[in-house]
Symmetry: C2
DNA sequence: GCTATTTCTTCTACAAAGTAAGTTTATGGC
DNA sequence: GCCATAAACTTACTTTGTAGAAGAAATAGC
């Protein structure tokens, strides 16, 4: 995709990160994504998206505390950068204008 | 993009076709798209998308009357198939669930 | 202080979508 | 005929999306 549009998965991932607040790390993101999407996404898909968004500086990441549960590797948490927030808002607005006046399923209000 | 998700442009184009009703042909679609998106899209981008959606049987096309205007090649009009309508509705619903509970710009209602 | 187990991340190769920059076909008027 | 206009088509390329693993880190139990 040319310049600066966000793909559907990219947008979805960013929204899920917002929804998760703190606690947004790879596996959790995948799970919440599956929940909201009613669809399975592999971790591979999620992480590559995460990486690409980070490379574009729309996300930033930091490593979490030593794991509290059983075994496990250190979680990497993600959040939107200011730029990321802007990009998402822009995508949402664009969508809004596209949907304007149409009667679409799920547009109950 | 893997199996059956619609990309952002694909969704956008389908929405614009709905918005245009009859009168949805390449150039008109591009123009309406630019209007609603506040962004220029080349015809190349639009036509390749149109073709792909047609190939996936989400759109169907038919040729219009011999051109009424100045010069020009016969217009090709597009509309959603039943399957296309379904796919779009599904995309809209998914989006809905993703946005649920978030406070996003442009989500005024 | 090993080894199995759990939890999470990283890699790699490929398929699908998006874009740009042209080319082609068809009028109509001069 | 030649130029301008209006539309569609083509091609080569970049960016996103996906799958299916393999790789690391931490802990528990023994």
């Amino acid at each position: 995709m040319g310049r600066n549009t966000l793909g559907t998965l990219e947008q979805a991932v960013m929204m899920v990160i917002l929804a998760l607040g703190d606690g947004a790390y790879g596996v959790a993101i995948r799970d919440e994504l599956s929940r909201r999407t009613r669809r399975e996404h592999t971790l591979g898909a999620v992480y590559t998206t995460l990486d690409r968004l980070t490379a574009k500086e729309l996300l930033e990441s930091y490593l979490g505390e030593p794991t509290p549960t059983r075994g496990g590797r250190a979680k990497r948490f993600f959040k939107l950068t200011g730029e990321g927030r802007q990009a998402l808002d822009h995508a949402v607005n664009t969508r809004h204008e596209l949907e304007y006046g149409l009667d679409l399923a799920g547009k109950g209000a």
